[in-house]
Amino acid sequence: MQTRVPIIAWNTSTIRSVLYQVVVLAAIAGAAYYLFSTTQANLERRSITTGFDFLDREAGFDIGETPIPYSAADRYSLAFVVGALNTLKVSAIGIVLAVILGVVIGVSRLSGNWLIAKLATVYVEGFRNIPLLLQLFFFYALFTESLPHPRTALAPADGVFLSNRGLYFGVPAAHPVHHWMAGVFVLAIVLWAIIRWWSRRRLDRTGRAFPAARVGICLCILMPLGVWIVGGAPTAMNVPELKGFNFRGGISISPEFAALLLGLVMYTAAFIAEVVRSGIESVSIGQSEAARALGLPAGRVMSLVVLPQALRVIIPPLTNQMLNLVKNSSLAVGIGYPDFVSVVNTSINQTGQAIEGVAMIMALYLFFSLTTSLAMNWYNARLKGR
């Protein structure tokens, strides 16, 4: 009689793969447990408290630039919000300026004008190959060392003062009509969107175009202007004045902010210029030749034929550069601009709660990059759907 002996094959690929994964998981779990227990012991020995309870305690330190009201008596949580807002402020302004400058330089590198193309190349190679932190130190030193004290401030224009404490300039004095103007501006943008939607529908149905963009821009300018005139056209200005050792009134741009913004914009623009250049070069030359053969003028060749195709190549690395700018804004800590990282750094020094602090920094930046990549995926899906 014959019985089949069941063969247990231990060395099959399925069993091996399960084994590998179990080993990896076990190693990670073991390392995590080890780190957790030693950390726990260390924290107890140094009597450092853990957890996020400190968020509710009084921060006790001042912050140089506060977009929202904040004082040293406020809680840590508010200090972190101020830091995050400062990061957002410099990043948002920086991204807009860096993209504009980067596109200009990228297009200049392809210019038929030899001088312009060479200058753009010098710019790109120069700023790309020097560490950003060094550039920040350089600009900061330039602003604080070579500009005069507030008492002898430069006044390049009426009501504008430039000193080593920053740039001060006048703004229109607060007036209720400004709120109305802002409201009407938002209304104008809504109207613009409606007009755009309507003009597209009309274009699809009847084939007649409507200059929605021009009308929209006119609305955005004329409606607030009209409200301003109706409101009595207030022209009072809030001009900075020298009081004691510094200026009061008006709006100021601190040397820290200026140096950080300038460094971020110059550095990132060099990279964006390369992205734009390679994007434009990726569109085959036949495309622009064909467009010219059809009789399109040079500007339209660029805006209707080359750029729409180049954009598909440009957008992904461009978003990457924008994210880099946001991440690089953390170098603010080097020159004393109170961004999120430097506020958290101060709080780590005060509370000793390093793990929580570093975790918060990482969480904020991960949040930025994850939302950006989600937006990118959505955008790519939309491009493909077209």
Binding site: A41, L115, I116, P131, L134, F138, E145, S284, I355, I361
Partner: protein
Amino acid sequence: MSLYKKIDMKPPIASVGPLGWIRRNLFDGWFNSLLTIVVLSVLWSVLPPLFRWLVTDAVCTGTAEDCRDASGACWAFITENYRFILFGFYPYESHWRPALAIVLFVAMLIYSRDMSRWRRALAALWVAVLGGIAVLMYGGVFGLARIQDNVWGGLPLTLLLSVVGILAAYPFGIVLALGRRSRLPVIRVVCVTYIEAIRGVPLISLLFMASVMFPLFLPEGITFNKLLRAQMAIILFAAAYLAEVIRGGLQSLPRGHAEAAAALGLGAFQSLRLIILPQALKTVIPPTVSIFISTFKDTSLVVVIALFDLLHTTKAALTNPDWMGFSTEGYLFIAAIYFVFCFSMSRYSVRLEHELHPEAQRTGMNR
């Protein structure tokens, strides 16, 4: 007499030669002419004063007082402080050791730039030279005084952090890249999480982690010095970026290579070692050089955790009350050093790109 007797007329003088070049490249239409004139006038008003400041009116030797009297740049700051800027707190009389180490290192870089020299002997030579550099820096043998790494600083520290950072991150990056392409879900998820998390946060947060969190991770009595901790942060950071570059190389390889290797009876590891990795890693040498350039620039961030790299020694030299106010000169000097290293490496990576992928040369330069 033929109607077409004198047909070999010269082209008009304005369309060939230097004049023709100027017309085509600088004065092609009213817009370009205007641009050229504007740019030239700006350059004319900027360059001569800049040249006077940099060269003619500059003070190259002397004291800070000599500098304050002059209207030009104060290069005396550099000539008086360059030893501290370049070598930090390394004992003054032993400065020849890091200097020799840098010279050796740069000479090796220059020697190994040709791909035809990339043989086993060169690798052995590199190991020998790196060992020699370590001996020079640490000392303790051959009658050289022992010098602890907490006094290392300046350019050697910057080079050390970036070179060791990339070398150590490389194998780690390969493992991560392979893991990200693995069939096994657990391994894939672990690698993807690591890579994306590290790429999503700024290097500064890792450096903070290294300086304030690592000490908490270690059992009592064991301490790492600050240099090693910063080095670990840089390795962890560079590995994630290298992994993505290497993944690109792995993806560029057609599946047929792995299949052919399997058909020949090579095991998974053999196929990886003999077929896949040599090709994949070779394709991505140029982007790897780019990662090295970024790492080299990023090492300047160790300023925030108080290590004395090139940037920090300069900053420290500038805080000397005697030399206050000459930041521009100091920063320009090290900017030039960084630029020479980064620019020559980026040129080199472009050249390698041409050698490795001659087929990928741009065919139609647009415009």
